[in-house]
């Protein structure tokens, strides 16, 4: 078996030399550039006159082709993004080349980055990049949870708790921005659960809450949840289930009952999976009901065992409809305490004298009405009729 694998690699290397995706574009032979993937596109624009060996099938390395190319050109430059994988190999087969000394190994390559590399190779210096004149005076515009986003209720409820919140990648990553500011750490998919368990096991004094989306839970959260139950963790896991894979463009997932091709299929239950993992405390909340959401979070944080809360409400952006009746702030009642602005809702504009709700943006989720201590926010008269 091992012998077959080795032989196959050797055969593939032979094949790679003949493969059409590994191609030499002969031009001026004073410089030959070996490159691959997107870097090739930049190379073609920055060095239009150079000879290029473009590798589309880079491993196992097409050594014969690389040698054939290198012997024909006066100087070899290797252009690759991040690790100097090709460059090290090319040197190892006895070919003199340059690469990392001119092409940075950190960050993405681009035409301007390679223009700097070219200038450095030719002993020229480029004029420094200018920042736009008023750039420093402009307010930052980070992405935000949409008006009516069901995740907002969970993050707002957590903002009242002295806990550590771990999370990962999805729309719920946006809970990290001010004013919600309720994610302490973000790592890879499923990391919300496993980091919560890690912190808990490492002796963290505060209670740890792990956040994960429904799609990410199915993708790589279940293993961590089982680990929590099996290894007697005490963290609280919240699955923010918006019935879709929102951030990447609303794809189906194992919980939605449809395949990616739109065919009907099973709809996996997060609650049942939690129970099957051995989590005894499994609760479901409707995140637009702030009072109950806060009550359940309080109870579960106090429990001396692991807990799973499923916060379930569909993504309004996918549903393409408003959550409820549009809200309005009665300025005669509003005391300007700005509590509603803590929701970080794009529909609530606090730039004026008193906060105002933008009727076009408001999705009618009603969270602001529930948290206003003076009862200044209600549905508009027309909506009530």
């Amino acid at each position: 078996m091992r012998k077959n694998v080795e032989q196959r690699l050797y055969d593939l290397a032979e094949d790679a030399c003949k493969n059409k995706t590994n191609k030499i574009e002969w031009a001026d032979k004073s410089l030959g550039i070996i490159t691959s993937s997107i870097a090739y596109q930049y190379v073609r624009e920055v060095w239009p006159e150079a000879s290029v060996l473009k590798l589309g099938f880079a491993y196992p390395f097409p050594d014969k082709l690389i040698k054939e190319f290198a012997t024909e050109v006066e100087k070899v430059l290797v252009v690759e993004e991040l690790d100097n994988f090709l460059e090290e190999h090319i040197r190892s087969i006895g070919i003199k080349c340059v690469g990392r000394e001119f092409v940075p190994g950190i960050g993405e390559l681009s035409i301007p980055v390679l223009e700097k590399s070219r200038a450095a190779m030719e002993g020229r210096t480029l004029s420094a990049e200018k920042t736009p004149k008023y750039a420093n005076e402009l307010p930052a515009r980070p992405p935000v949870l949409c008006p009516g986003c069901p995740h907002r209720g969970i993050f707002y409820a957590l903002s009242k708790q002295d806990v550590i919140v771990t999370g990962d990648i999805g729309c719920y990553s946006l809970g990290t921005f001010k004013p919600l500011n309720r994610l302490d750490i973000i790592l890879c998919m499923g990391g919300g659960i496993s980091m919560a368990h890690g912190l808990d096991k490492a002796g963290e004094k505060k209670k740890v809450v792990g956040i994960v989306g429904d799609s990410t839970f199915f993708h790589s959260g279940i293993t961590g949840l089982l680990d929590i139950a099996y290894n007697k963790g005490k963290s609280t896991i919240i699955v923010v289930d918006n019935r879709t894979t929102a951030m990447t463009g609303h794809q189906e997932n194992p919980g939605t009952g449809l395949t990616l091709m739109g065919e009907e299929t099973i709809s996996a239950s997060i609650e049942e999976i939690g129970k099957a993992c051995g989590i005894k405390r499994v609760k479901t909340v409707f995140p637009y009901d702030m009072k109950n959401t806060q009550k359940v979070i309080n109870e579960e944080l106090e429990a001396d065992e692991p807990s799973l809360i499923v916060s379930r409400a569909p993504c309004p952006l996918r549903e393409r409809k408003k959550v409820g009746a549009i809200r309005k702030i009665d300025k005669t009642i509003c005391k300007n305490c700005k509590m509603c602005l803590n929701l970080g809702c794009p529909a609530i504009d606090g730039a004026g004298e008193k906060p105002e709700i933008n009727e076009l943006l408001c999705s009618g989720c009603g969270l602001c009405e529930q948290i206003c201590p003076f009862g200044a926010i209600s549905t508009t008269k027309e909506e009530q009729l």
């Binding site: 090739y40 596109q41 930049y42 073609r44 624009e45 920055v46 239009p48 681009s110 035409i111 301007p112 223009e115 990049e129 200018k130 920042t131 736009p132 004149k133 008023y134 750039a135 005076e137 402009l138 307010p139 930052a140 515009r141 980070p142 992405p143 935000v144 949870l145 949409c146 729309c171 946006l174 921005f177 001010k178 004013p179 951030m247 990447t248 463009g249 952006l317 700005k338 602005l341 970080g344 794009p346 609530i348 504009d349 606090g350 730039a351 906060p355």
Partner: protein, 193 residues
């Protein structure tokens, strides 16, 4: 870098229809017989963040990324986004900016201020500026959401793509009942003086 490549940079706020504007521009260039590359910010695009889309066309285009200082046109669907991405525009390039202001959460929560004299700042930064109330023109055409196409119309005056290519692009990218609205909005932008 090859001089025959035309670069377009579209800037705005997620949800304004920047990706559709990018799609229409790319198709118009494609129908005109050019090689086209595009590069867009997805995911964040519907979520209120700063969004950038880039289109490059020419006889042969390799990189989808526009280098700073090389765009022939910079189109901003929101006024201060033109200032944010001003450095993409070539020295002799044209900025087409909507006068629409969208207040970011950083401002509504009181953490930052939205500049007051944006028109003055735009005139200061851009030698060639088309400052246009695209939202109002779009409303007059029937729907504020067509503001993106109004701006494409205004932008088209500064590119070498024929009208029938633009119409064909609109027809294939904005289908059904939206075709007529977008054509109307495009014309209104193109005829804006």
């Amino acid at each position: 870098m090859s001089e025959q490549i035309t670069s377009i940079v579209l800037a705005g706020v997620g949800g304004q229809g920047i990706l559709l504007a990018s799609e229409i521009s790319a198709r118009a260039a494609m129908f005109a017989g050019f090689d086209v590359e595009t590069n867009e910010v997805h995911g964040m695009a519907q979520r209120g963040g700063s969004v950038l889309a880039q289109i490059r066309y020419g006889k042969k285009v390799y990189s989808p990324i526009v280098a700073k200082g090389t765009a022939r046109v910079l189109v901003a669907l929101e006024q201060i986004e033109a200032l944010r991405f001003a450095d993409y525009l070539a020295d002799d390039g044209v900025a087409v900016a909507s006068s629409q202001a969208i207040i970011p959460v950083t401002v509504s929560s009181g953490a930052a201020k939205y500049p007051q004299n944006v028109k003055q700042m735009l005139e200061d930064v851009f030698k060639k500026l088309v400052f246009i109330d695209a939202a109002k023109i779009a409303i007059d055409c029937g729907n504020i959401r067509a503001a993106n196409t109004v701006l494409l119309g205004a932008m088209s005056n500064h590119l070498d793509l024929p009208m029938d290519c633009w119409y064909k692009a609109i027809q294939t990218a904005a289908k059904g009942k939206y075709t007529e609205l977008n054509k109307k909005a495009f014309d209104a932008g193109r005829n804006y003086r």
